[in-house]
């Protein structure tokens, strides 16, 4: 008996020393992390090695994952390269598997779910949803439970389940007023109202979210832009006064708005996609062989479409294959949403394919006998595109049904864009005229590209604030309305 007791005491003493060493090491690691030191990761690894089951192991693992630059909210996905995502997921999995009772487990579960929604091969929205449901159902009032509820609402919103999403967002406003989750939920309700055509209510919620002061800078800028477009839509106003007009590159062939005032410019013949900021300065460039279209989502996902597939445009200027055309055949254009789904048109514009996040190639979702689509756009509810053959605008719904939206008044439509309020701009008449329609196809007005100092535009886009953008191939001119 005495021998056993001594052994037990010794073991306890060793464990205590282990824990104490880990604690000291963790202090060092945190300091290094705060200083942005390259050695922080290694120092955090050492904490785990010293005491793998100790009280600081989950902290060290999570802090280690945070060094990767984990997105805090689902809208912030898409900024990490795949290897970084995998690395972070491995670390978070260790917490969830080995240290499920640690005080950082809730946070780890929440962040793991966000990573599962990264639009790469590991995308698994069902798994993410389950993780968030478990967190939300735990009944705690913690920050992470609220964040999980926000994540669930956001997921429903992306899936077009607007009623459920609205209820969940409203619950956050009621239960956690004055929190960041509540402010984001308020802005999200504005987005949904905007998609549903409830422009005044949308403007009101955007204003509420801005007034809360709880939005981060990026979301605040987006929300301000969306409020403005909601007001414009409510007042049936389309602003066409010039804000900027510069030479954007050599023979640009396509444009996609980035945020309120930036743009991705496609230079097919040069093999380049460039990103311009609001002042026209180049802030990023990607070399892409024969780019046909550039895609940008409000929350910063960027893609390029080539005949052979879809590339992710990485923040560091690199590209990653997102999907190949595969059996679907050569591509001509596409559009992406915030979840990371990419709809693509085949070369002839007669078939529509959908690349779910994580999928390697498009799955056919629509084919329209007799229609020839170009420049598809996603308005949050449906996909709309010009039907060049029938000189109309066609809407394709998630259930693969389709319906003409605009059938009259278009002369050789060539490109189309949808603003955040669902208003449609169609470039037609050989690129000399832009006609505006509401979501139901009711004509709202026209704008001659002469007013933009152009003879013939080749593509158009709407900024997040609804400002029209035009691009002219011959002159290389990029024009933006206020």
């Amino acid at each position: 008996m005495p021998a056993i007791a001594i052994a037990a005491v010794s073991a306890g003493g060793a464990a205590s020393a282990q824990s104490s060493d880990a604690e000291a090491q963790y202090r060092v690691a945190r300091r290094l992390a705060a200083e942005g030191s390259a050695g922080a990761g290694e120092a955090l690894d050492r904490v785990v090695a010293l005491d793998p089951r100790g009280p600081l192991a989950d902290d060290a693992l999570l802090d280690r994952a945070l060094l990767v630059g984990l997105p805090r909210w689902p809208e912030q996905r898409g900024r990490l390269a795949a290897p970084r995502i995998s690395e972070a997921r491995t670390l978070l999995s260790r917490i969830l598997k080995d240290l499920p009772t640690g005080d950082r487990a809730e946070e780890a579960a929440y962040r793991q779910a966000v990573l599962l929604l990264e639009p790469i091969f590991s995308f698994d929205d069902e798994e993410a949803r389950l993780l968030w449901l478990a967190l939300a159902a735990a009944g705690t009032n913690s920050e992470w439970a609220s964040s999980a509820r926000y994540g669930l609402a956001w997921l429903a919103e992306q899936r077009g389940e607007f009623g459920r999403a609205t209820d969940a967002y409203q619950r956050l406003r009621v239960d956690t007023p004055n929190s960041e989750a509540s402010a984001r939920a308020t802005a999200a309700i504005g987005r949904i109202r905007l998609r549903q055509g409830g422009f005044p209510a949308a403007a009101a919620r955007f204003q509420d979210a801005l007034d809360s002061g709880a939005l981060d800078d990026l979301l605040a800028a987006q929300t301000r832009a969306l409020r403005d477009v909601a007001v414009d839509a409510f007042q049936s106003r389309i602003e066409t006064a010039e804000a900027l007009h510069i030479t954007a590159g050599t023979r640009p062939t396509g444009v996609a708005a980035v945020g309120a005032a930036g743009a991705l410019i496609v230079q097919r013949k040069v093999g380049l996609v460039i990103e311009l900021d609001a002042g026209g300065a180049v802030v990023n460039r990607w070399t892409v062989d024969q780019p046909l279209a550039a895609l940008a989502t409000p929350n910063g996902l960027r893609f390029a479409v080539t005949a052979n597939g879809v590339l992710r445009l990485e923040p560091d200027g690199g590209t990653e294959s997102h999907a190949t055309a595969g059996a679907f055949g050569a591509l001509s254009s596409g559009v992406a949403d915030d979840l990371g789904r990419v709809w693509v048109l085949d070369r002839r514009g007669e078939r529509l394919g959908l690349i779910e996040p994580g999928s390697m190639e498009p799955a056919p979702v629509w084919s329209g006998g007799g229609a020839r689509l170009a420049t598809p756009a996603w308005d949050g509810n449906r996909l709309v595109a010009v039907d060049t053959r029938n000189k109309s605008v066609l809407a394709v719904y998630p259930d693969s049904s389709s319906q003409p939206v605009v059938t009259l008044g278009l002369d050789r439509p060539g490109a189309l864009a949808v603003d955040p309020a669902g208003r449609i701009g169609v470039l037609h008449a050989r690129g000399t005229l832009v006609s505006f329609f509401d979501a139901d196809g009711k004509a709202l007005g026209r704008f001659s590209v002469e007013g933009a100092g152009m003879q013939r535009a080749v593509d158009l886009a709407f900024g997040l604030d609804g400002a029209l953008q035009l691009i002219e191939e011959g002159s290389g001119l990029w024009w933006r309305a206020r």
């Binding site: 009032n141 406003r173 409020r227 403005d228």
Partner: protein, 675 residues
């Protein structure tokens, strides 16, 4: 002859006995003058130890000697007396008694010379001593008178005032009416009486002389009689309280005399007499007190009449039916117009259903009416201090402070200490100084909330203002769009800006954006209305007076701890005073309970919130939060029932124009597996 001698001896023995008793009883020592060495009889003194070694005490020796005399053993008696008289162990009384026995023995033996010497010794010690003349042989008596005439003089003192105290050579004289025998020589005479200057002088007394000595003491103070109407008036003399006046008994059927206070021996000079009584105007007499040597009667002042005095108090506010108390006595029921109260420092209170809602100590000044804002506020128990210190003055102005005695060793950093406190007055907050506050740092405190059973460490002055439980809403949702644009309107009353209107001016002031308009709306909230000018959606201009709606306000929760404690305290006050905003206060309290995980308390509190079904905050709001708390408690069936009511309501939360609760209720129902 033998027979006569025998009778004479018996008489002598009787005389011995009485004579001893006479010395002890009637001739107390008056003069402690020690006889000189040559005055002492030349008797052989036995060795000290022979006396000390005797088995008997002095009293037994004296009794034995007295027995010897009775038995006619004179020689033996003298032999015993000789050493005894000079023995240093004798008291003065015993020594004189021994001398008297010896003088009588000498006289009995016919030794008058020795007897004379004895008389001299005795008179040196007791100038007033006289042998019993009827039992002393004439020759011996003659010898005594001769000695006395040679040693003693007599002084008759006439004192003014007669009750002055007389000291002769430092010894107080009890009886000064008869002439006092004094040994010839110089004596120190002192006479004194309170209220008079004392007199001290020397007196030369010659043997056989009779002296008349008058001593007049000069007064230096005077008795004063102060009379007041009414009685029980406190009298202050030169700033010091000296007593209260009282009625004397009815005198000779002349009716009730004024109450009076007699102040004896008030020093001469200028004095201020002040007269104070509850609810009476204070009076004052300033007088130079002097003395008339011919009339030393007490000085009587005219009766001082203290007029009634009061202050008019006007209590404003407070719940109807509350008792208004002054110094603990109920004087009115609120609401009331005015109340009379006596001047001075008073404790004023409003009490409703045995709860003190408002309490203040105020100094009331006659003729200065006071308006009292009766506002129910929390009761704060202050442990170990009489009043809040200066740094917490702001707090003192918003709570009722009740000092609370407590064990100085109690540890108020422990919940258990607070839970064990037994207080008469129910309190909503309690504060105790933290004895461990760092030196040179501001005092820190322990703040306890009996409502929440929470204990917080308080470093600074907390936010102590009464929370608003209601707020004004205008029913307009505005966005910035080149000016404040109305995008939602909860009120379709004509004359208000429609959706799509752009507000140009508010209260006559141009408003460029939503922020500027909100400032004007906030400023106008108290008035409940504002003049607006706006452009209509069709382009026309309109003006109108827009009314605000005042409704409940569910406040966003601040940081846990101190804010919660104060919010809870104020909520309890609102509920206990049955204030009009009590439901909103209770709702806010329920939110605090919920945030602290006290879901059962939150349920009970929500069940007390009685709001009607209405747009904005109403019954649906209660239903939502009730459902939420029941859900947290796992009472799913009840939760579903409550949430269904919320889901079908048009209720909102926060304010009347806040977020709707129905969608949130639907989301919760989904959590509970309900469609």
């Amino acid at each position: 002859m033998n027979h006569l001698r025998a009778i004479g001896w018996v008489a002598l023995l009787f005389c011995l006995f009485l004579g001893t008793a006479h010395v002890a009883a009637q001739d107390p020592p008056q003069d402690p003058v020690e006889p000189s060495e040559e005055d002492m009889p030349s008797t052989d003194v036995p060795p000290q130890d022979s006396v000390e070694s005797a088995p008997a005490t002095t009293r037994e020796l004296l009794d034995s000697i007295r027995e010897d005399l009775v038995e006619l053993r004179f020689e033996k008696a003298l032999a015993a007396l000789a050493p005894l008289v000079t023995s240093p162990v004798l008291t003065e009384e015993e020594r004189v008694e021994a001398m008297v026995l010896r003088s009588q023995t000498h006289a009995a033996l016919g030794d008058f010379k020795s007897a004379e010497e004895d008389y001299r010794q005795i008179l040196m010690r007791r100038p007033g001593w006289v042998p019993d003349r009827s039992l002393t042989p004439k020759k011996a008596m003659d010898r005594f008178e001769k000695v006395r005439d040679a040693l003693i003089g007599r002084v008759r003192f006439a004192l003014d005032p007669a009750d002055a105290t007389l000291w002769i050579d430092g010894r107080e004289q009890v009886d000064t009416l008869e002439p006092l025998p004094l040994l010839a020589g110089r004596h120190t005479i002192r006479a004194a009486r309170r209220g008079h200057d004392p007199v001290e002088q020397t007196l030369e007394v010659a043997a056989g002389e009779n002296i008349e000595l008058s001593i007049e003491l000069i007064p230096n103070a005077r008795t004063v009689i102060l009379r007041t109407e009414p009685e029980d008036v406190e009298v202050w003399l030169d700033g010091r309280s000296v007593g209260r006046t009282a009625r004397v008994e009815e005198f000779l059927g002349l009716g009730q005399a004024p109450a009076q206070l007699v102040l004896e021996d008030v020093p001469l000079g200028e004095h201020t007499f002040e007269f104070r009584a509850e609810c009476r105007r204070a009076e004052k007499i300033v007088d130079a007190l002097n003395i008339d040597l011919l009339d030393r009667a007490p000085k009587r002042y005219d009766t001082v009449r203290l007029a009634e005095s009061y202050v008019l108090l006007t209590p404003v506010g407070g719940p109807g039916g509350a008792e208004f108390r002054v110094d603990g006595r109920t004087v009115a029921t609120l609401p009331t117009e005015t109340v009379q109260a006596c001047p001075g420092e008073r404790e004023l209170q409003a009490v409703f259903a045995d709860r003190v809602l408002w309490s203040e100590r105020r100094t009331l000044v006659e003729g200065v009416p006071q308006t009292l804002e009766i506002r129910a506020r929390p009761n704060l128990a202050l442990v170990g201090l009489d009043r809040l210190p200066r740094e917490l003055e702001a707090l003192a102005a918003t709570v009722n402070v009740f000092p609370l005695d407590a064990d100085s060793n109690a540890d108020f950093s422990q919940d258990s200490t607070w839970n064990a406190l037994d207080t008469v007055q129910p309190f909503d907050l309690a504060l105790a100084p933290d004895p461990d506050s760092p030196r040179r740092a501001a005092q820190s405190w322990w703040l306890y909330s009996p409502v929440l059973h929470s204990l917080d460490h308080l470093e600074g002055v907390p936010g102590v203002e009464k929370p608003e439980w209601r707020t004004a809403t205008w029913g307009l949702t505005l966005v910035d769009a080149g000016g404040p644009l109305v995008v939602e309107s909860l009120d379709s009353t004509p004359g208000r800006p429609d959706v799509g209107s752009r507000v140009l001016k508010a209260a006559g002031v141009p408003v460029a954006d939503v922020s500027a308009l909100r400032e004007q709306l906030t400023a106008a909230a108290a008035q409940g209305a504002i003049e607006l000018e706006w452009t209509k959606p069709d382009g026309g201009t309109a003006t109108g007076r827009v009314l605000a709606t005042v409704g409940p306000w569910l406040r966003e929760l601040g940081p846990r701890g101190i804010d919660d404690a104060f919010r809870a305290a104020w909520a309890v006050v609102a509920a206990d005073s049955q204030a009009s905003d009590a439901p909103a206060a209770l709702a806010n309290l329920a939110l605090v309970f919920s945030a602290r995980g006290e879901h059962a308390l939150a349920v009970r509190t929500w069940q007390r919130v009685d709001w009607p079904e209405r747009d904005g905050i109403g019954a649906g709001t209660v239903a939502y939060y009730l459902g939420r708390e029941l859900q947290a408690l796992g009472r799913d069936e009840e939760a579903v029932e409550a949430l269904r009511r919320a889901a079908s309501s048009r209720a909102r939360t926060g304010t009347d124009d806040g977020p709707p609760v129905a969608p949130a209720a639907r989301d919760r129902l989904a959590d509970l597996g309900q469609r």
